[in-house]
Symmetry: C2
Subunit: 212 residues, 2 copies
């Protein structure tokens, strides 16, 4: 068939194929998004394909049509999660015109994230832990970690810039610090500790001036 096709026909065929691929991939993302709901609710260990299907508009067979197996699905979930997550604070960083403005914008976003997206974030910590056992997750997880580190670094350098300084520590240390604080606050928040969020905000507010 391909040998008989003219140049134009080939181009049409290729276009049709990429269109199909895009549609296929869009569907994958749709399914991954639906899966994230259940994963965020139950966690990796307790989530089965059937449970995912039941909490969504799809049947369990569809997932096997679009994903080669369970790991493939969850890898797709992780990658999709990344896209949503990594730019969370960028608007604050680009619009803030002073240290105070940046601080308050960052803190507000931090509190809102902890309050409204706790389920999605506990899933992130769950999957990052899974990556320590499951090699198939490692590449994506390490990549997301790098992206999150870069995100924190953008905040820190902008904060330093607004004070005509430079960050006093490395990107890795800064990310470790904020990630550790956030993780701890998240756990406390999920355990119905009402001081979790204010404590985190206080801590970050105190910390920001000392890192630059």
């Amino acid at each position: 068939m391909a040998r008989q096709a003219t140049g134009a026909a080939q181009r049409v065929a290729v276009a049709a194929e990429t269109l199909r691929d895009e549609k296929f991939n869009a569907r994958r993302v749709e399914l991954a998004e639906a899966a994230l709901e259940t994963l965020g609710e139950l966690g990796f260990a307790r989530t089965s394909l059937r449970e995912i299907a039941q909490n969504s508009a799809f049947t369990h067979g569809v997932f096997h049509y679009y994903f080669s197996d369970k790991l493939d699905l969850i890898c797709c979930c992780v990658r999709h999660y990344k896209a949503k997550c990594v730019t969370r604070y960028d608007e604050v960083v680009t619009t803030a015109q002073s240290r105070d403005e940046l601080t308050e914008g960052f803190l507000a976003k931090l509190a809102a994230t902890l309050q409204d997206e706790a389920r999605m974030h506990r899933l992130w910590y769950d999957l990052r832990s899974q990556a320590m056992f499951e090699p198939a997750f490692r590449k994506d997880v390490l990549e997301i970690d790098k992206s999150l580190e870069a995100m924190i670094w953008r905040i820190a350098t902008r904060y330093a810039e607004l004070g005509n300084r430079k960050p006093a520590s490395s990107p890795a240390a800064l990310y470790a610090l904020f990630d550790g604080l956030f993780q701890s606050a998240l756990l406390r928040h999920l355990a119905s500790d009402e001081k979790a969020i204010p404590d985190l905000l206080d801590e970050v507010r105190r910390l920001l001036p000392t890192i630059c």
Copy 2:
């Protein structure tokens, strides 16, 4: 029976009962220790009672005799893990007579832990993530987290003391920082990144003087 017992007989009965309890509890710990082997190898999500039993000297029935269910077993594992973990750096803290000595002792222990006990530590991160989903784990996990924070704080205050200073940040922030760094290094180490351990040591070596 109790009404007819004399005071002495009562005391004997009580003693016998506590002895039985101790024996019972010692067996529980034995089983928990065996379970930790498999948990550290496979992670919470992939570990079944039968797998635990197969990798140990016990049959799967025994676990149900000593634990009411799977969660009960794993809670016991977590609590037992704590006892082993929380005093890891205490010898270094008490024996070090100078900042350098403390630094080198701490770094050496850090590297050894990452190298030799990676499996047990990834399990800790796994179970801490599970606690975000499973309320039954939260109490013990939060308690261990507090103990680890105190452990780090002992190191920091001793380090500060040896330089006639005081730590510049809160216990929570310090623990978040070291925990975050360790977690990241552990993931990289498990992903066969050979720079994971030296990078961690460099980072900590640079960080220690700045926090006091």
